[in-house]
């Protein structure tokens, strides 16, 4: 049986924990709103871009002159998995769910005898994958210094990936991130970025004049397309992270509240027990006289 003082200390520490989680929840809520706005602001660009790319891609795809970024290297032996996670923890299952999806994919690819390479973005995913797959790591992108994810950040990651592609380090690249569905639901997603996959476009896209040639534009746009997809993924991830953290911290705050209630009851009971005991001692002492 813990002493009264111990109980009191315990209640005090849980109360301060509750204050912290409550504060973190509110910070996450504010950041979530900003992240959602950023994700929404980026949507028109990505949508227009993909529409144009899809049109171009469908008209060039058949020809032999299709760029390698679109047509692929002709093999799918080496896979690069870009695993995007957060820099900070305390966000529930956010990182674990991405890592779980990535692990499943790694196991699947390795079972097929493919070579797997991993590029991690964000510290948390790296830590989780390090135990089993440290030998597969080819690089890491640190985002802890980035206050706000900008297009430049995504462009830098894209440049890194493209340089590796040009050097023939891999044949297929896939990004792993969480798609933001709602504050309580984030969906781990795997998306292939190289070779580029676009949904088939309608016939209207073929009516355009292209300046310079279709191939020229495509060669110019494909690297940008990689950057755009990474940017979108980073933004989705950012919003998901804050959403997950908000939910996790909300739960933590509630749990702390329940724990305080429980501890307070135990505290009051033992206090009452101590008083009763003292009374009994006094009364029985008086009776003995």
């Amino acid at each position: 049986m813990p002493s009264l003082k111990d109980l009191k200390n315990r209640i005090g520490s849980v109360k301060s924990t509750r204050k912290i989680t409550k504060a973190m929840q509110m910070v996450a809520a504010a950041k979530l709103r900003r992240a959602q706005e950023a994700a929404e602001a980026a949507r028109p660009y990505a949508e227009r871009f993909n529409a144009v790319m899809a049109g171009l891609a469908s008209s060039v795809k058949g020809s032999d002159s299709a760029p390698r970024l679109l047509a692929g290297t002709g093999s799918d032996r080496t896979h690069l998995l870009v695993v995007m996670t957060s820099e900070r923890g305390l966000c529930g299952g956010f990182n674990s769910s991405i890592v779980r999806l990535a692990r499943a994919r790694i196991a699947e690819l390795q079972a097929q005898g493919k070579v797997v390479k991993i590029l991690t973005v964000g510290k948390k995913g790296r830590e989780q994958l390090k135990r089993d797959y440290a030998s597969l790591f080819v690089g890491h992108v640190d985002l802890s210094q980035e206050k706000r994810i900008g297009y430049d950040t995504a462009a830098a990651i894209a440049r890194d990936i493209l340089a590796r592609f040009d050097a023939g380090e891999f044949d297929v690249a896939t990004i792993f991130f969480n798609t933001f569905k709602s504050v309580i639901a984030q969906e781990p997603t795997a998306q292939q970025i190289i070779p580029a996959a676009f949904e088939a476009a309608g016939a209207e896209s073929r009516l355009y004049d292209y300046e310079p040639s279709e191939e020229g534009i495509l060669a110019d746009l494909l690297p940008r397309g990689v950057a755009t997809q990474i940017f979108t993924a980073l933004l989705e991830n950012g919003a998901s992270e804050q959403g997950a953290r908000m939910t996790a911290m909300d739960n933590a705050t509630r749990n702390a509240g329940e724990m305080i209630d429980r501890l307070t009851i135990v505290y009051n009971r033992s206090r009452q027990a101590a008083i009763t005991k003292e009374l009994i001692e006094i009364i029985s002492g008086a009776e003995a006289l």
Partner: protein, 136 residues
Amino acid sequence: MAETMQFDLVSPERRLASVTAREVRIPGAEGDLTAMPDHAPTITTLRPGILRVVGPEGEAAFAVTGGFAEIGAGGVTVLAERALPVGDMTRAVLDGYIAEARESLEKAKAQGDGTLADEAAKLLADMVAMGDQIGL
């Protein structure tokens, strides 16, 4: 014939402009072009330069550094990687762009890739020309 058309300028981070326009002067990679309503559908890449929009409410100018423009039946959509209203364009920002372009030129030269170096040199020249145009 339609008098005006829809004009959208979007960068990856946000939508910069969405207005009706009578004409849009685009700094295309192969030369400037002016798009007016009912222009033939065209897709062109951009070089760094000044994009001018003339609309019923007046004229607006934006400094863009690359991307592409889609001229379609519905209007003109410009997807620029980086874009700023000319009023917000300062010497410091431009210097940053120029320094970046110069760096990539040096890198391309160091690699000994002729075409890449040519492209970088052209980009640099365009950046400098853009500065002159704004009058910085």
